[in-house]
């Protein structure tokens, strides 16, 4: 009886200890990025009316192609200031795991249909 109980408790503690489940890049983009970068990812978001610096058009192959994957990773994790851009682009390091950010970088590459042209 006691043994069953401790096994049950052990199982439960595993269930409770499961780390926050990773979300897909599409769902993360929808929740966190579209508010500024827009439903279509073209920079025409809900919030832009009074912003002094406008969000990047993620569908623009030219400007997005100018950034390496490492730079995209850095700007998502640490925000605009980390790459000498506007503080209006927020840091998301407290929301995403590194793996989720890597997925977002790949997602951005699909949106712009571009790769880095070093």
């Amino acid at each position: 009886m006691n043994r069953y109980l401790s096994i049950a408790i052990l199982c439960l503690s595993f269930v409770l200890a499961i780390p926050a489940q990773a979300e897909t890049a599409a769902n993360n983009y929808r929740t966190y990025c579209m508010q500024c970068h827009g439903l279509k990812g073209n920079g025409m978001g809900l919030n832009i009316r009074d912003m002094s610096v406008q969000p990047r058009d993620h569908t623009d192959a030219k400007s997005m192609g100018g950034r390496s994957d490492a730079e995209l990773f850095k700007v998502i994790k640490e925000g605009g200031l980390a790459i000498n851009k506007s503080a209006l682009m927020p840091p998301w390091g407290d929301v995403f795991s590194d793996a989720e950010i890597q997925d977002l970088v790949k997602y951005l590459r699909k949106l712009c249909q571009c790769s880095h042209e070093g």
Binding site: Q35, G38, M44, P90, D94
Partner: protein
């Protein structure tokens, strides 16, 4: 003699039981209203959504820490005269559509809030302030009303930390994906604001407000700036 004493004690016990019950009956009226009319949209027990799909389905703000978040006087008056706080609703994606210059709110998808009569609002507000989730987070904060933001307040809010990208600081100016902050000083306890800015994710793990890692002193200035905004009575 003995039997008479025993009956007397019994009567007293029953009477005090009934009396206690009637007191908690009055105190629980607010809780009863909450259970009847509000739980369908508001989470009174916690925890906050842990996944995006839970977040997207949330129908109203979590209230399980209402007693650590709101000012009671504000609750009482807002419940009688609710005014929109989140310009684009609970999950903004559900309430916007592409426009010519930018995505715009689709008002046809938004509805008004249930209104309470004065005595119901009073009872509900009294019940809400008993809900004390996340007390540990609140205890960690000390509000310093003496740290004046001066002209730096708006500068920080708009430029340095970019808070205005998501929050309105007067009707018609600012971002729309977060709650308006021009009445927040009347709505929220200062310690809640400090704690929420320190870590939005500690309150609501999946929320789309980033942690901007604002140093302590500047956090006090931002909060005092928000309090000063509400004294301009933009909502009246």
């Amino acid at each position: 003699m003995q039997a008479g004493f025993r009956t007397g004690v019994m009567v007293l016990m029953v009477a005090s039981l009934l009396w206690g019950a009637s007191i908690s009956w009055a105190g629980d009226r607010g809780m009863q209203l909450l259970q009847q009319q509000c739980v369908s949209c508001h989470n009174l027990a916690g925890p906050a959504p842990a996944t995006l799909s839970e977040l997207w389905q949330r129908k109203g703000p979590d209230l399980f820490y209402a007693g650590n978040k709101y000012r009671q006087a504000w609750l009482e008056s807002w419940l009688q005269q609710p005014k929109r706080i989140r310009p684009a609703g609970m999950f903004y994606i559900d309430h916007i559509k592409p426009g010519t210059k930018r995505d715009v709110i689709d008002p046809s998808t938004l509805s008004g809030h249930v209104k309470l009569k004065a005595d119901d609002a009073k009872a509900v507000a009294a019940a809400l302030v008993q809900l004390k989730g996340n007390t540990k987070l609140i205890k960690a904060e000390t509000h310093r009303a003496d740290i004046s933001p001066g002209p730096l307040g708006e500068m920080m809010f708009d430029k340095i930390y970019g808070c205005m990208a998501c929050h309105e600081i007067e009707p018609g100016y600012g971002g729309l994906s977060g709650p308006e902050l021009y009445t927040a000083g009347k709505r929220l306890q200062p310690e809640f604001m400090l704690s929420y800015i320190r870590s939005p994710q500690a309150w609501d793990p999946k929320i789309w407000m980033p942690n901007k890692h604002v140093p302590d002193d500047n956090m006090q200035k931002l909060v005092n700036y928000i309090i000063a905004l509400s004294e301009e009575n933009f909502d009246e």
